[in-house]
C-alpha cells in the first residue's frame, strides 16, 4: 500500500463519518451515473417547477459581477427572504429572474404581472437545497429536497477530445415513443453526402428497470469520414418524476471501439435516486 494512501485513510478515519468520495459518480435529477475518468463534465442543466437550478462551480460568475453584467436591463430586486438575493431583468421581450443563495443559483422567466408566482417557485426551490443530500432532485453536490414536480428536466454533457456523451431526462405527460434514431433517415442523409450507414446494434435493453430502445450506427461519408453514434431511449411513464423519459446519446468521429467501453460504463451504471 502506498504511504500517501495510508495517510489518506488515517485522515479519513480521523474525520469520522465521511464515506470515501467516488469521483466518477455524477448525480443529476433523479439519476446517478458513472462518468468514465477520461470524460469531463462539459455542461449540466437541471430544472424543476420550471426553475433552472444549479450549484456554483469555480467558473461561476460572482453575484456582484452578474449584477454588473445585467446593468441597465435590471428592472427590480425582489425581496425573496432567507438570505436569497434576486433580480428581475429583461432580455428582448423576456422578463427573467436570477437568484442566488450561497452556492445555489436559480433562474426562470415569467409574464409581466405574474412575477409573484415565479418568485415563490424560485424561493421554494432554493430554500429546499440540501448540501450533500443523496436523495431528492440532484444538482450535483446536493439536492433539491422538495415535493416531486410534473415538470422536471435535466441534461448532462460529458466529453473529451474524441467522444461526446449526453444524458438527458424529461418528465412526460405521455410516454415519448418517437424514434430517436432512424437508420432509414440516416441512410438517406449519408447517401446525399455520398456515404453509407451500418447498423451495429438495434434492440431493446433494460437498464435500472427501464426498458429502452438501443441503437448503434456507424456513418461514413467521403468528406467527413466516420461517425459513430449510440443511443438508448426510455419513453418514460406518464406524470412520473421518478421514471421520466431518458435519453443517452454518445458520438465519436473515432472508431466504434473507442466508444463502446465508455458507452457500456455509462449505460450500465444508470441508477435511480429515490424521490423521497
Amino acid at each position: 500500500m502506498k504511504p500517501s494512501f495510508v495517510l489518506a485513510l488515517i485522515l479519513a478515519g480521523c474525520q469520522g463519518a465521511k464515506p470515501p468520495v467516488d469521483t466518477n459518480k455524477e448525480s443529476i435529477g433523479r439519476f446517478r451515473i458513472s462518468r468514465p475518468p477520461a470524460l469531463a463534465v462539459a455542461y449540466r442543466m437541471q430544472s424543476i417547477y420550471g426553475v433552472d437550478v444549479w450549484s456554483a462551480t469555480e467558473k461561476q460568475t460572482p453575484w456582484s459581477q452578474r449584477l454588473a453584467d445585467l446593468g441597465l436591463s435590471i428592472k427590480s430586486r425582489p425581496a425573496l427572504g432567507s438570505g436569497i438575493e434576486g433580480v428581475w431583468y429583461k432580455v428582448g421581450e423576456d422578463l427573467l429572474i436570477d437568484a442566488n443563495k450561497g452556492k445555489v443559483w436559480a433562474h426562470r422567466g415569467a409574464p409581466e404581472g405574474k412575477e409573484a408566482g415565479a418568485e415563490e417557485l424560485v424561493r421554494d426551490v432554493i430554500n429546499s437545497y440540501r448540501e450533500g443530500a443523496r436523495n431528492g432532485f440532484s444538482i450535483g453536490p446536493g439536492a433539491i429536497v422538495i415535493e416531486t414536480s410534473l415538470s422536471e428536466t435535466t441534461r448532462l454533457q460529458m466529453a473529451n477530445e474524441t467522444i461526446e456523451v449526453e444524458f438527458s431526462t424529461r418528465t412526460v405527460q405521455e410516454p415519448d415513443t418517437r424514434k430517436f434514431m432512424d437508420a432509414g433517415d440516416e441512410r438517406d442523409f449519408a447517401a446525399l453526402a455520398g456515404g453509407s450507414v451500418t447498423v451495429l446494434r438495434e434492440g431493446e435493453r433494460t437498464v435500472a428497470g427501464m426498458t429502452g430502445h438501443e441503437m448503434w450506427l456507424q456513418i461514413s461519408t467521403p468528406k467527413t469520414g466516420q461517425h459513430t453514434r449510440y443511443t438508448w431511449h426510455f419513453p418514460g411513464e406518464p406524470r412520473s418524476a421518478g421514471r421520466p423519459s431518458v435519453t443517452l446519446l454518445a458520438k465519436t468521429a473515432a472508431a466504434p471501439a473507442v466508444l463502446q467501453p465508455v458507452w457500456e460504463t455509462i449505460l450500465s451504471s444508470i441508477e435511480m435516486i429515490s424521490v423521497d
Binding site: 420550471g50 433552472d52 409574464p111 414536480s149 415538470s151 454533457q157 405527460q173 430517436f180 456513418i219 458520438k251
Partner: protein, 516 residues
Amino acid sequence: MSNAGNPLVKKHDVDWNKVDEYKTGLSTKLRHEFEVRREAIPLVFVPGIMGSHLRRPGLPPDGKTDGLPNLRWSTDTGWVLSNLILADSDGPRRRALLVGSPRQTFNPDYLEVDEATPPGDGFQGIMKDYQEFLNKLREYKEWGELDKYFVFPVYAVGYNWTDDVLRGGKYLAKKIDTIIEEAKGVTGLCEKVILISHSMGGLICRSASELAGSRSKIAGIVHGVQPVNGSPAAYWRVKAGFEGGLLDILVRRALGSDGTRVTPVLGNIPGGLTLLPNKNYLTNNKEVGWLKITGSAKPIAPLPKKDPYQEIYREKARPKPDLGEAPSNNAYWGLIDPDLLNPDNAVVPGGNRRDRINADLNDPWPAYLRSLDKAESLHDLLSPSQGPLQHPQTFAVSGTGHDTAHVVELAIESNWVRSDSYPSKGFRGFFNDANGDRMQAVLQEPTGEGDGTVPLSSAEAVNVKGRPDPQDKSFAAEHQGAYGNDFGIVQEWAIDAIKTMAKHRYHEQRKGAAAK
C-alpha cells in the same frame, strides 16, 4: 488621370454612360486619351430559409455555449452530422439552437449570419450548394456586347432567416449600400445591383426594394420559386413534419420529421411563419379556401373564408377532445398546438400547487402570437389586397412537376384504434361527432402543381404578361435545388433575365445621356 507614360499624352477615365457629354477645358497642346470606365452591376444572391449559416453573436463559431454549438445552423455535412442527428435534434434541442433556452422567447438579436470578417463576397455565410450556380455566374463569359459597358461581380447576402422579413429587408438594404460602395471603390462606377432570390429570399428582396427604400439602387430582381403569397406546405409541415425526397433531407433534419419536432421551431420564429399562406393566397384553382375538411356527412366549408390568421393561425389547435366531450368542439385544424411550442417548458395539467403555478406562468401562446403578428404585418405590407408589391424590373421562375400542397386536405373517417396525433410525417385530428362516435381527420398527402413546396399559383403571383424575354417562366424544377446544376435550364433562364435587366440599365442610361 495620369500622363506618366508620355508627357504629350494625357489619359482620362470617363464613365461609359457619360461618353456623350462634352469635355471642356482640355489643353490643345496635349493628346488626350479617354478610357471608358465600365459600370459594376453586382449580382447579389439572396438565399431561401435555412440557406444562411447562423451563429451566436460575439462567440467563436467553433466553440460551445450552454451545451450547444455557437455555430447554430450550418448546412455543411460535418456540422449536420455532428449536430442534427435525430437523437439530439428533437423539438427542444431544435428550439434551443434557434430560439434559446426554454425560458427565452424569440429575440431577433439571438443569432447573426456566420459571415467572414470582413464579409467579402458573402459566400461563407450561405449554403454551399448555392455556390454551384454562383461560381457559374462568376465565371460566365458570354455577356456579349454588355461586356463593353458592365462588369458583374457576384455577391451573396445571408440573413437571419429566423427573424421577420421586414427586418430582413432592412438588413439587405444596408448590405446593398455596402456592396455598391465596395464595387464603386473597385471600378469607380456602381449605382445599382441586380438581386437574385431563392424562395424566401424573394420576400426579403421585395421587402428591401419596396419597404426599406432600396428600389432605386436595384436594377432588377430575378425571383426563383418565391412563395409570393405563402404556401399551404408550411401549414402541412407544422402539422406533420417535413417530407420529400433526397434534396429535402437537410430541411427535414433542420426542421423535423413530425409535428412535435417542427412546431417548436417554426412556431417560434417569425421567419418561418412568414411562409404561411397570406390573405391573398389562392389555390391553383383560384379558390380562397385552401384548408379542406372532407368526408363529413355534413359539408364543411373550406377555410379560410377570408382571413387565415383569424380562422386558422390564431385558433389554438387541440388535436384531441377532452375526456367525455361529445360532440367535441376541438379545433384540431388550428395551426399550432400550444403544448408543442416549448416542450421543455410544457404545461402539464394537474399536479401540486407549485405545478399549477408553473403551468400558469408557462403559457407559450403570447410569444407565438407576437411572432405571428410580425408575419401578418409583413404580409399586409408586402402583399396588400390589390396585389404583391414588386420591383418594376422583375422576372420570376416557378417550379412544376412535383406534388405540392396547393390545398391541405383533412379527410374524416371513423376511428377505432388510433390515438397518436403526430406520427412521423402525418397528422390526425381526433373528435367525437354528433352521435358521440369517435372520428379522426387524417392529413392527406399533397397533390397539386408546383415545385414540391410552393404551388404554382403562389410562385406565379408576381408574374406579369408582356414582360420582355426571357419572360416569367415555369420549368420542371424542384424547390430546394431549383438553381442547382440539375436544373441548368433555370440557371440559363436566370442569366438571360440578368442580361435583359442589364440591357434595360443600358437603355435607361443612354436615354439619360441623349436627353442631356
